[in-house]
């Protein structure tokens, strides 16, 4: 019983906080309480997660899913590692959002609660042990994302982003559910471990399983914004409030990629051992590899011609989904670890870049074009330098965190025999250099235009966090890597 409490404590804290703040907001309209309360509850969950990890000693007891919730939720180290990422993303989002909301629209308390709810959804994804739990988590997360994307009610772009995201997202969820139904029909189970068992023992209907997996991958590809289901991403990320885009494109992407990892690990991997399914799984993996390659290329090529920094970052986040998919394609421990590291590195660099954008933004995405950033370094050398660090990290230049993420992904793909995919990743990295460097070029080498006036304050603290982490994980990635290896067992 005590163990169960420990296992569930982070989620309990979060869910209690959500309900409390919803109620408090109804009675006592105090913005400070909600703002700080949300941050503190996330921080508490963050700390408690560490504590739970320590107490449970995952290195020796890798899985607690048998204990409680009747196998509905799984509790292993890797899920908790992703929880940490989600919690931190939530903290950063709330930190960055208050001043941004005040400057662009008005501060509403629901924002913070919605961030909490979507974070809660993400933790369910990372702990799901079962296709239905996975679905539940994805829906909890997505529904709050739909609202968050359209949060600035007065802004046409924001509302458009919300509706677009909702319509397409709902459609993609349909695919996901349909896929789950097929997998259930084929293996008579929705539990990951029993599906794996059924697959290993050859006790399934091959064609339905293939269709089911295909449909699930379509649904999840939509969530990570992989080609050809990426079309929503640029519009939504551009239209949505900038800090929300940052949240969706980092934590949202990380949780979707985690869902893909779960499916790949528990359904695709056991299929390798069987002669009957070897061909199917090889086909699926080839298709995934092609999707990954096209995602990188398409994202980077279109980002190349963008004039708007926010839109450029949106397309670059599509490209990064492609890099992350390499780990799924490789589907070996190196690949999973690489995903873990990359999700962490990507959180900080992408979030930092978006937050710096949000610092200078005026209503309706003004001051977001590359031209507005001409000569930015003259007046704000520190911010320009920080932005350059994020750009270089996104481009994968050492010694920043992004480089190691890319490096580990390349390593896993080569080890799995996907040299061609790595070479395509390299080529698309080269393409991406051009526009990442383009922003640095605009900030440093061009003559100053009418300047952006960035707001400092709390969002700046979030930027500092991101900067610190991007450099730190670039210098000492070994601690994270050792950690994830330990957690994966």
């Amino acid at each position: 019983m005590v163990e169960e409490i420990y296992l569930l404590l982070p989620m309990i804290i979060l869910s209690v906080a959500i309900i409390v703040f919803l109620v408090v907001d109804g009675i006592w309209k105090n913005k400070t309480v909600n703002f700080w309360g949300s941050i503190i509850s996330l921080l508490l969950s963050f700390i408690v997660t560490f504590w739970s990890m320590q107490y449970l000693d995952f290195a020796h007891n890798p899985d607690y899913s048998k204990f409680i919730t009747k196998g509905f939720l799984a509790f292993n180290g890797f899920s908790y590692y992703f929880d940490l990422i989600f919690f931190f993303a939530g903290i950063l989002t709330i930190l960055a959002s208050r001043d941004y909301q005040r400057a662009n629209y008005k501060e509403l308390n629901e924002f913070y609660t919605l961030v909490l709810i979507s974070t809660f959804g993400m933790t369910i994804i990372s702990h799901s042990n079962n296709l239905l739990a996975l679905f539940l988590g994805i829906e909890t997360m997505s529904l709050s994302f739909y609202v968050l994307a359209g949060f600035f009610r007065k802004s046409q772009q924001s509302v458009e982003a919300g509706i677009k995201y909702f319509l397409l997202g709902a459609f993609a969820t349909g695919f996901l559910v349909y896929g789950i139904a097929f997998v259930y029909g084929a293996t008579k189970s929705i539990d990951f471990s029993s599906i794996a068992l059924a697959v290993q023992s050859g006790n399934f209907t091959s064609i339905y399983l293939a269709i089911g997996i295909g449909l699930i991958f379509i649904g999840l590809s939509f969530k990570v914004a992989a080609f050809p289901f990426h079309q929503w991403a640029p519009d939504v990320y551009t239209g949505a409030p900038t800090t929300v885009s940052a949240f969706m494109s980092t934590a949202g992407k990380a949780s979707a990629i985690f869902a893909l990892f779960l499916v790949a690990k528990s359904i695709l991997l056991p299929m390798h051992g069987l002669e009957a399914t070897l061909k199917t799984v090889a086909n699926i993996q080839t298709i995934l590899a092609v999707i990954s390659a096209l995602t990188m290329l398409v994202g980077n090529f279109i980002a190349l011609v963008q004039k708007d920094v926010k839109r450029m970052l949106a397309y670059s986040s599509v490209a990064h989904a492609g890099y992350l998919l390499m780990g799924i394609v490789a589907n070996n421990p190196e690949g999973w670890n690489a995903i873990g590291f990359y999700a962490l590195a990507y959180l900080f660099m992408q979030f930092g870049a978006f937050t710096i954008l949000s610092l200078g933004e005026k209503e309706d995405n003004k001051f977001n074009t590359i031209e507005d950033y001409y000569g930015f370094s003259k007046k704000h050398p520190f911010l320009a330098g920080t932005m350059s660090v994020f750009m270089l990290s996104l481009a994968g230049i050492p010694p920043f965190a992004g480089f190691f993420g890319k490096y580990f992904l390349f390593l896993s793909a080569i080890k799995a025999g996907y040299l061609w995919l790595t070479i395509i990743a390299v080529i698309s990295s080269i393409i991406s250099m051009y526009y990442y460097i383009g922003l640095i070029l605009a900030m440093y080498f061009k003559e100053q235009k009418e300047g952006i006036e960035p707001r400092f304050g709390l969002p700046f603290v979030a930027v500092l966090f991101c900067l610190f982490a991007t450099i730190l994980f670039g210098l000492i990635p070994q601690y994270v890597i050792d950690f994830t290896y330990l957690l994966l067992g």
């Binding site: 190196e334 050398p381 270089l392 230049i397 050492p398 010694p399 480089f403 490096y407 390349f410 390593l411 080569i414 080890k415 040299l419 790595t422 070479i423 390299v426 990295s429 080269i430 250099m433 051009y434 460097i437 383009g438 070029l441 440093y444 080498f445 061009k446 730190l472 210098l475 000492i476 990635p477 070994q478 601690y479 890597i481 050792d482 290896y485």
Partner: protein, 540 residues
């Protein structure tokens, strides 16, 4: 965690701190400068000068403590970085890298001294970047871990990109982006090759628990037993060679160079020509020749042909330039051709010549750029036609300019002659190239060099003083004396007594060359390789 990392690192090496100091002093200096207020321009200038001079003094200790007779790596330091993938901080130097490390530490104070007048805005960023650049370049020369090497290799890129882009000439943005993209294209393929090699050696052959290694010495030892099939080895060779040949730059990958050299500020050009290009040639020796010996023999004729084309092409294009700086830039293409020819002759003479030529080129072309910079600071033009008869108003400058020019031409008694002669001699004797035409055509490059450099010198310095703007030119000042005289001393020293420097590299170079030939050819059906191997047998 950071402290723990550094503590681990210091513990390992109590005896040989010289190399680590040479590497890290500039970085420490750069980090300290970050905290200085940007209005204290004098602090930036003199502090960075002091740091680079101190680094030079420390590097002289390397020269003293270095063991001539030992062809292996010395001053070895090893610290674990990422245990899971056997990535380590491994550094050390041998006879090949010591000369280049010394070149780096020697050129750096000179560039800083020349920056005092050349850089007039954003001094803080500039000096921080310059010291950081020195750290990265030294790192490339001392890294004994493929992964660490790659990191330093990429680190060089960022400061240089900013130096060209922020303090460069009119076309600086175009030049800086071109420089960046060109270099990145090559280096990323190198990264793939490094990962493949590490997985193959660490995982497939050694079956290490990490499944990966990037330890250079270990990989070299394993590869010397011909474990990689030739079909794969040649691709690895090409991936590395692409990266290095872009940096050298080898014809036809040279097009970034004239733009970057011309647009960079004077100190930037000096570093580009003096040290940055040597990263490429150093990589060719260290990785392409030492690791992939079979492919090196197989591809040597092809690369040498490109080198010879580069020698002649660079010289011919130089001859028609109207811009002094562009002329010197194209002459680099020509001079580096000799280096590559010397390296891929795979003979002791050729490689020794290539090494000494690397140092020479750094000195003489660096000095030519400095001279052009001195003119540019006074007249703000680089057109040859704008000058003429400068000797009358700037006699001391003329002497220095003349010495640099003659050294670049390859006048016996000055440094350029030794390197070019040995490189050509190596190509002549080379069993791999096995043709005299490389030397014959390459030697015309020396003649062309005399033509275009002497013509330029004559047009700029001699003749009547026609342009009235030139009447008031001031001769070089004390600071300029201070950075020109050491270079001239080195030029004469190498020209008269090159043995002092050749002694350092000889055992290592011999070792490298022997290793290439000792290696037995694998049971390949590739006829070309077998042909070459029988040829070598005949010659011996």
């Amino acid at each position: 965690m950071v402290v723990a990392f550094f503590l681990k690192f210091v513990e390992l090496n109590e005896t040989d701190m010289e190399l680590l100091l040479t590497l890290f002093l500039p970085l420490i200096g750069a980090l300290l400068l970050l905290f200085v207020n940007r209005n204290n321009i004098k602090t930036f200038k003199y502090f960075s000068l002091a740091v680079s001079l101190l680094t030079f003094l420390v590097s002289l200790l390397l020269l003293i403590k270095f063991d001539f007779a030992n062809p292996e790596f010395q001053f070895l330091t090893e610290a674990v970085w990422i245990e899971k993938f056997d990535l380590g901080f491994r550094v050390g130097i041998d006879g090949i890298s010591i000369l280049l490390v010394l070149l780096t530490t020697f050129i750096s104070p000179i560039t800083i001294l020349s920056s005092f007048s050349a850089i007039e805005k954003r001094e803080k960023e500039y000096y921080v970047l310059l010291l950081f650049l020195q750290f990265a370049m030294t790192g490339v020369f001392v890294a004994l871990d493929l992964f660490l090497f790659y990191i330093f290799w990429e680190l060089v890129l960022i400061p240089m990109y900013f130096i060209i882009g922020l303090w460069g000439g009119k076309n600086r943005i175009y030049a800086s982006v071109k420089f960046f993209i060109y270099t990145v294209v090559g280096s990323l393929f190198m990264l793939v090759a490094i990962v493949w090699l590490g997985l193959y050696v660490g995982g497939n052959i050694l079956k290490m628990p990490s499944g990966f290694t990037s330890n250079f010495i270990l990989i070299r030892q394993i590869l010397s037993q011909n474990v990689i099939p030739f079909e794969i080895e040649r691709w690895l060779f090409l991936a590395f060679a692409l990266s290095f040949c872009i940096k050298v730059p080898l014809f036809p990958l040279h097009t970034w160079l004239p733009d970057a050299h011309t647009e960079a500020p004077t100190p930037g050009s000096v570093i580009l020509a003096g040290i940055l290009l040597k990263l490429g040639t150093y990589g060719l020796i260290r990785f392409n020749i030492e690791l992939f010996t079979n492919s090196a023999i197989y591809y040597a004729p092809y690369i040498s042909v490109l080198a010879v084309i580069g020698i002649v092409y660079g010289a011919l294009v130089s001859a028609v330039q109207t811009d002094v700086k562009r002329l010197v830039a194209f002459s680099s293409v020509s001079h580096l051709g000799f280096v590559v020819l010397g390296i891929f002759s795979i003979t002791v003479e050729g490689m020794q010549g290539a090494l000494i030529q690397m140092v020479n080129h750094g000195l003489s072309t660096g000095m030519l750029f400095l001279a052009v910079g001195i003119l540019y600071e006074r007249r703000h033009t680089r057109e040859i036609a704008e000058y003429g008869g400068i000797a009358r108003v700037m006699p001391a400058f003329t002497v220095f300019f003349g010495v640099a020019m003659l050294a670049s031409v390859g006048l016996p008694g000055l440094n350029g002659f030794v390197g070019e002669f040995l490189s050509l001699l190596g190509a002549f004797k080379s069993p791999v190239l096995n043709s005299y035409w490389y030397t014959i055509i390459g030697a015309t490059g020396v003649i062309f060099a005399a033509v275009y450099l002497l013509t330029m010198f004559q047009k700029v310095v001699f003749g009547p003083l026609t342009n009235p703007a030139n009447h008031t030119l001031k001769d070089i000042n004390r600071r300029e004396w201070a950075y020109l005289v050491p270079i001239v001393i080195m030029m004469v020293w190498i020209g008269v007594y090159p043995k002092f420097f050749l002694n350092y590299s000889e055992p290592t170079v011999k070792n490298v060359v022997n290793r290439v030939y000792q290696q037995k050819f694998p049971t390949q059906t590739n006829i070309d390789v077998l042909k070459i191997s029988t040829k070598i047998g005949e010659k011996k």
